[in-house]
């Protein structure tokens, strides 16, 4: 029980910190383009490191936070982050090394799906058909910085996950003896 509480607390803190960084600090570092999508990196990493269920829940709450501050309807972002967490969770078993090659690729792919989702439901349905322009102006810049930031932040999350697992193992062995 304590074990899962610790997980939940760490995940909640990470979601809030990543969101605040993304909406403030990263806007100054990238004043002319979109900042990297940290919430997406967090969701992808949660799926890859912790599996489908935790990927889904992390994604859901990441999306919910973004929804709360978008002022629009709730769960619009949650839905796409939910699916990203799930599908990245499927690939958990294919993650064999600590090298961030697969996570990088998945960050890129997930970001692409994320943008296609927003474009489809928020722009295409309002008859904005010029996808190539949006691809160039909005999607590509964010995709590139997200992949780059993905390496860094995936590394950080990998370390946090490692530390938590170590602590959980210690706790378990104490319990047995």
């Amino acid at each position: 029980m304590i074990k899962s509480m610790r997980r939940v607390f760490v995940a909640a803190a990470l979601i809030v910190v990543f969101y605040v960084l993304q909406t403030t600090l990263l806007h100054w570092i990238f004043p002319h383009t979109a900042p990297p999508n940290l919430l997406l990196i967090l969701t992808v990493s949660a799926g890859l490191l912790r599996g489908r269920k935790e990927g889904m829940m992390t994604g859901f709450f990441c999306g919910l936070l973004a929804d709360v501050f978008s002022g629009g309807m709730l769960c619009f972002y949650s839905l796409i982050y939910l699916y990203l967490g799930y599908f990245n969770g499927i690939l958990r078993k294919s993650l064999v090394s600590d090298l961030p090659l697969l996570p990088m690729l998945l960050c890129g792919l997930s970001d692409l799906f994320y943008h296609i989702y927003i474009y489809t439901f928020s722009f295409l349905l309002r008859n904005r058909l010029d996808f190539t322009v949006y691809l160039e102006d909005v999607v590509m810049p964010e995709l590139i910085v997200t992949i780059a930031a993905g390496i860094l932040f995936y590394g950080i999350l990998l370390a946090i996950n490692g530390a938590l697992e170590k602590k959980e193992k210690e706790g378990a062995s104490k319990f047995v003896s």
Partner: protein, 289 residues
């Protein structure tokens, strides 16, 4: 009860969980789409945690950038002084012209009883503390909410021009959608001739720093350089707020209307502080007979 819930989540297959969560998401989307007030308690609660963090980081950032700016400024100042002295001379000669103009303007305004109507409204200043996370939407969060009298539908101005409209207000923060957002349409008119047109944001034009203007009558006097203000007939925007100046206009295929680009007076890239007009435009809703 707690254990039951724990067992339930443990035994639930991931794909069933995905299905369940999808249903919840779609349900919530529908519910909040129909009734935005449904999400208000959640917004308020989350605001109490996140807004102070954003404010804190912003304060640190402003302090840091001010220090940096100060050092940069010293070097630039000397060069600027020389340039500015030159400019002062030019401006002084222009000033006399403008003084004449402004006196005339004042007279005419009194004559026509056209006072700056929005100066009469109560306003409150607010700082931008966060921007939307991606670049699909041009929305930002300001640090004042319903506690300060802000409500959804309030107009937001800065630099003497229209910034946007409050689309959602919570206790401690509100979300403002800028007029350059793709979903925004503003009913507008020429400041001088009062001819109507429509100004709308366009995602594809954001890089060029302009927005669209359309529905200009083909025979109207609106041309490049015309000042465009919010119109009297708009149901959301108070009349007479400056939006920007027309950049270029071309006649549409139908030969009846013209459309083109407009440069807003507000610089959205460097925007930090805004003024929120606390009154909402009151429109008469016609009863069904």
């Amino acid at each position: 009860m707690k254990e039951k819930l724990q067992n339930f989540t443990k035994e639930l297959l991931p794909k069933n969980m995905l299905f369940l969560m999808t249903v919840i998401c779609i349900g919530m989307m529908g519910a909040t789409h129909l009734n935005a007030g449904f999400a208000a308690p959640l917004r308020t609660a989350v605001g109490y945690i996140v807004i102070p963090l954003q404010k804190g980081i912003n304060r640190i950032g402003t302090f840091g950038s001010e220090l940096f700016q100060e050092r940069m400024n010293l070097e630039q100042m000397q060069n600027r002084i020389d340039d500015l002295e030159q400019e002062v001379e030019n401006l002084q000669s222009q000033l006399s012209f403008y003084q004449n103009d402004s006196m005339e303007l004042e007279r005419l305004q009194k004559l026509l009883d056209l006072y700056d109507s929005y100066r009469n409204y109560e306003m409150t200043g607010a700082s931008i503390i966060a921007k939307e996370e991606g670049s699909w939407y041009q929305r930002f969060t300001i640090d004042k909410g319903t506690n300060d009298g802000i409500q959804a539908g309030n107009n937001v101005i800065a630099d003497g021009g229209l910034v946007g409209i409050v689309t959602s207000a919570s206790a401690t923060f509100s979300v403002v959608t800028a007029i350059i957002d793709d979903s925004i349409n503003v009913s507008a008119m020429s400041q001088t001739s009062q001819e109507l047109c429509v100004v709308s944001g366009d995602q594809t034009l954001i890089g060029e720093g302009c927005i669209q203007i359309s529905q200009v009558a083909a025979d109207s006097s609106i041309g490049s350089g015309t000042a465009i203000v919010t119109s009297n007939v708009s149901d959301r925007y108070l009349p007479g707020i400056l939006i920007g100046h027309v950049k270029e206009l071309t006649t549409d295929v139908n030969q009846l209307t013209k459309s083109g680009y407009l440069t807003p007076v507000v610089n959205f890239k460097t925007l930090k502080d805004v003024l929120v007009i606390l009154g909402v435009k009151e429109t008469t809703v016609e009863d069904d007979f």
